[in-house]
């Protein structure tokens, strides 16, 4: 069953990606992998060696792979840690596929999808020399709950026994959920219900396999041994992070954990984005994490074009609107906002149409379940949508505001206080003022804005936020962000910021998730229809699909971009 749906999924993702490719100028200019579809090029011994220097403004918190939830460190974990499964390490659309990692093969599915059986590969060692055993596997899953991983309740609550572990994490035992046999190296995972996305969840860093004696609390800055091609040597969050080759690593599956090229990876913290750009231009660093400041884009795009790589992300910038308080508890007001915003202007603020595309649907282009429609462009409406966004319609927006009876009300727009977000915010404020509101801009420190806008106690009316996928499944966008279960009033963790809860649509979403277990194609079609139904009510305003710009130094070669984890760090060649 799993194999069939795998090839189906592969076909589907391919189909969607191809359609996305034709609709926009996806893709890199500049140095590119010479990869065959589906695999990295063969390992080239002569290019191994050297020190890769990465720079970022700041570190990303804890180094513990089961707790850290940032793209910054997930990118590094790809080279240091492994789970039973992994996302294929390759450039291009196949990077959305799941391949076996520490497991010998994709699991056997039985019991109507509720039981997955894996066989652990033998002979793999942690970076401290010890062998990986099935006991380590069981302990790692229990550890997810013991350390209160952010996704313990969201992603891994389907494992039998998880509910008890969530209640009393300290003594978490998954004796029935994860049954292991040391003699045969078999791991049997029992779920309370079939889950179409379980394979993705097992490929995320939160499901990393760690030694059984890893500390039962957040490891913080102390590295935990892993099985990857690299190991973390040291971590000082104010200074630098160092990775070195894992002495005990022998490549067992090039698709999931390829051997790396640099001997050492040094990630320095502390430079501002402008300084990072200068550092790379002056050959003092090889790659920067932070976005290129707006005033350097043209310069780099002209003078350093072959050092720039641009890729579309399965992500979105959007405006959650509070559906429960004025003025956006009125659907006409929300639709007015959707009609009024000029996505082209916002794309311009982001850096131009080579760096972003206007968006109208909740699921981004190229994502499973995406359907092409747009109700909120000039000449279209919810009954006769267009296929894509073209132009704003200010007149209609003003009319809707008047009809809604919310004309003249005060609106506070909460944004992060970094440059790009503030610029977007100023533009949005300008537009809201034009259609008849009294809008004020409220910039808040980037570090607390995300939790601030989730808590209903703060009475946030409208805010600017971004969402990047966890894994390629429609529910990761639609259900997680707009499901009734994701809304908890009065809590800092209530990711359904709009407070949107439509019981009918919620039922449809849950049905679609169940349908995906047996028929992914039909499920994705249903997600597309759900998307349209949701956007008819306009709980949010979707703005654009961003692209990622990677700026590399002149000496770096062999750039590969995984759609799941972005640039493959260990594959960069610096010699």
């Amino acid at each position: 069953m799993m194999k069939r749906s795998k090839s189906l999924a592969a076909l589907l993702s391919l189909a969607f990606i191809l359609s996305a490719c034709s609709s926009g100028a996806d893709d890199q200019a500049g140095s590119n992998a010479q990869a065959q579809e589906g695999a990295l090029a063969a390992y080239d011994e002569t290019k191994a060696g050297g020190t890769l220097r990465l720079v970022a403004k700041g570190a990303a918190g804890t180094l513990d792979p089961q707790i850290n939830y940032t793209l910054q460190f997930w990118q590094l974990y790809q080279a240091a840690y492994d789970g039973l499964l992994a996302f294929r390490k390759v450039d291009g659309p196949k990077s959305f596929e799941v391949v076996p990692d520490l497991a010998e093969a994709l699991p056997e599915i039985s019991n109507d999808g509720k039981t997955l059986t894996f066989t652990l590969r033998s002979g793999i060692k942690f970076s401290d020399g010890r062998d990986v055993t099935v006991a380590d596997v069981k302990a790692s899953f229990e550890r997810i709950f013991k350390v209160s991983s952010p996704t313990a309740g969201g992603f891994y609550n389907g494992i039998v026994g998880a509910d008890k572990c969530l209640a009393t994490p300290a003594t978490c035992k998954l004796d029935e959920g994860i049954v292991v046999d040391a003699a045969t190296n078999k791991i049997v995972m029992n779920l309370t219900a079939a889950d179409a996305t379980i394979k993705y969840k097992l490929a995320l860093p939160h499901a990393t396999i760690l030694p059984a004696d890893a500390p039962s609390k957040d490891a913080g800055t102390t590295p935990i041994p892993g099985t990857g091609a690299y190991a973390f040597a040291s971590y000082d969050p104010n200074n630098e992070l160092k990775m070195v080759r894992n002495k005990h690593f022998v490549e067992w599956n090039r698709e999931s954990q390829p051997a790396g090229y640099p001997d050492e990876i040094i990630y320095s913290f502390g430079l501002t984005a402008e300084a990072q750009v200068n550092a790379i231009k002056n050959d003092q660093a090889d790659w920067m994490l932070d976005s290129i400041p707006a005033d350097r884009l043209a310069e780099l795009g002209t003078n350093n074009a072959d050092q720039i790589n641009v890729h579309t992300l399965t992500a979105m910038w959007y405006l959650p609107m509070n559906n429960n308080i004025a003025p956006f508890n009125n659907v006409k007001a929300r639709q007015a906002v959707n009609y009024a915003l000029d996505r082209n202007a916002m794309v311009k603020i982001f850096g131009g149409d080579q760096l972003a595309s206007p968006a109208c649907t909740f699921l981004p282009p190229g994502f499973p379940g995406h359907a092409d429609f747009c109700q909120y462009t000039k000449g279209a409406d919810t009954n006769s949508p267009a296929t894509a966004w073209a132009e704003p319609d200010l007149e209609k927006a003003k009319a809707l505001v008047k009809e809604s009876g919310t004309f003249g009300q005060k609106v506070g727009i909460v944004v992060q206080d970094d440059d790009v977000n503030k610029q977007m915010g100023e533009y949005i404020q300008s537009v809201l003022n034009q259609i008849g509101y009294k809008a004020t801009l409220k910039p808040i420190s980037s570090n607390i804005q995300f939790t601030y806008i989730q808590n209903t106690n703060n009475k946030v009316q409208i805010s600017l936020s971004q969402w990047y996928q966890d894994f390629p499944a429609a529910m990761d966008f639609s259900y997680i962000l707009l499901g009734c279960e994701s809304f908890t009033p009065g809590s800092d963790s209530s990711i359904n910021m709009s407070g949107y809860c439509n019981k009918e649509i919620n039922k449809r979403m849950i049905a679609a998730m169940e349908l995906a277990v047996t028929d992914e194609a039909a499920a994705n079609k249903e997600w597309g229809a759900i998307d349209k139904a949701i956007m008819d009510e306009a709980p949010v305003a979707v703005l654009f699909t961003p692209k990622l710009v990677d700026f590399l130094s002149k000496r770096v070669k062999n750039y590969n971009f995984s759609k799941q984890f972005y640039m493959l760090v260990s594959q960069l060649q610096v010699k």
Binding site: T62, Y69, P150, D218, T221, N238, N278, T451
Partner: protein
Amino acid sequence: MIAFIAKRLSAAIFVLTSISILVFLIFFATPGVDPAARIAGRNASQETLAQVRATFDLDKPLPERYLSMMDHLFLQRDLTSYVNRGAEVWPQLIQAIPATLSLVIGASIIWLILGIGLGVTAAGMRKSWVDPAIGVVGIIGVSLPVYWLGEVVNLVTQGRLHDTAFNWVPPLGYVPLTENPGQWFLSLLFPWLTLSLLYAGIYIRVIRGEIVGLMQEDFVKTERAKGASEKRILLKHSSRMSLITVVSLFGLDFGALVGGSALLTEVVFGIQGVGRLTFTALQNFDLPLIMATVMYAAFFIVIANAIVDVLYAWLDPRVRRG
């Protein structure tokens, strides 16, 4: 003498305690800074949130949390960050000290030399064009926002002219003195100049103003009557008396800078000093680190003030009785 020290000690403790309490209260009075959700991670379930609360004692009443934090900060010295979990706060702070000290001591030497030298010159040559010219230099120094100046300096030395005139400028960041004295000096050169410009401007004006005022004092007139030359009066007597103002200003400024108030300079030039640490802590709303850096800064303010008072008494005997 002992009574004096005891008085100063109790005053210091009073100041530090009040500041710590104020910081604590302000932090938790601010909506949205509750660390539980940020620590728990994005989209954490409510049970996870509750667990994190319990682990970090965030469900206990405020006074208990305050005392617990102070205990971990000062007595056990194992207080850990809310944001970089597991990272102890004291080692982070201690690591950052040499960078700030290097920056501040170097800059203060430059601005004292410039300030006193040019200030005295301006006062002495106040009938010529030199005085207003130096005055303009001073004013410009006072009027430039430090972070703006730093960015412009970077624009020139790291960006536009890096390949030509400024290719000897090392990349941004701090190189420890023990590691490479040459690079240490070069990497701090522009931060020194940038930081000292503002203070030099202030000191030039203050010293010049003080001296000019003092030149009219009675005791100076006595010296003149005795036949001393203007130059001698200037150098010997007026300079000494104007030191009072300079000393008190310098005490405040140096104390504040060592404690980390050069934070914008450190941020712009990528120097991993105490100021930068404070800035990062504030941006991250990382209470343990905020508390540690604020206490550290406050400590230096208080010490600096105490030293200034002692020097005051020494320089102006009339004050000792006060």
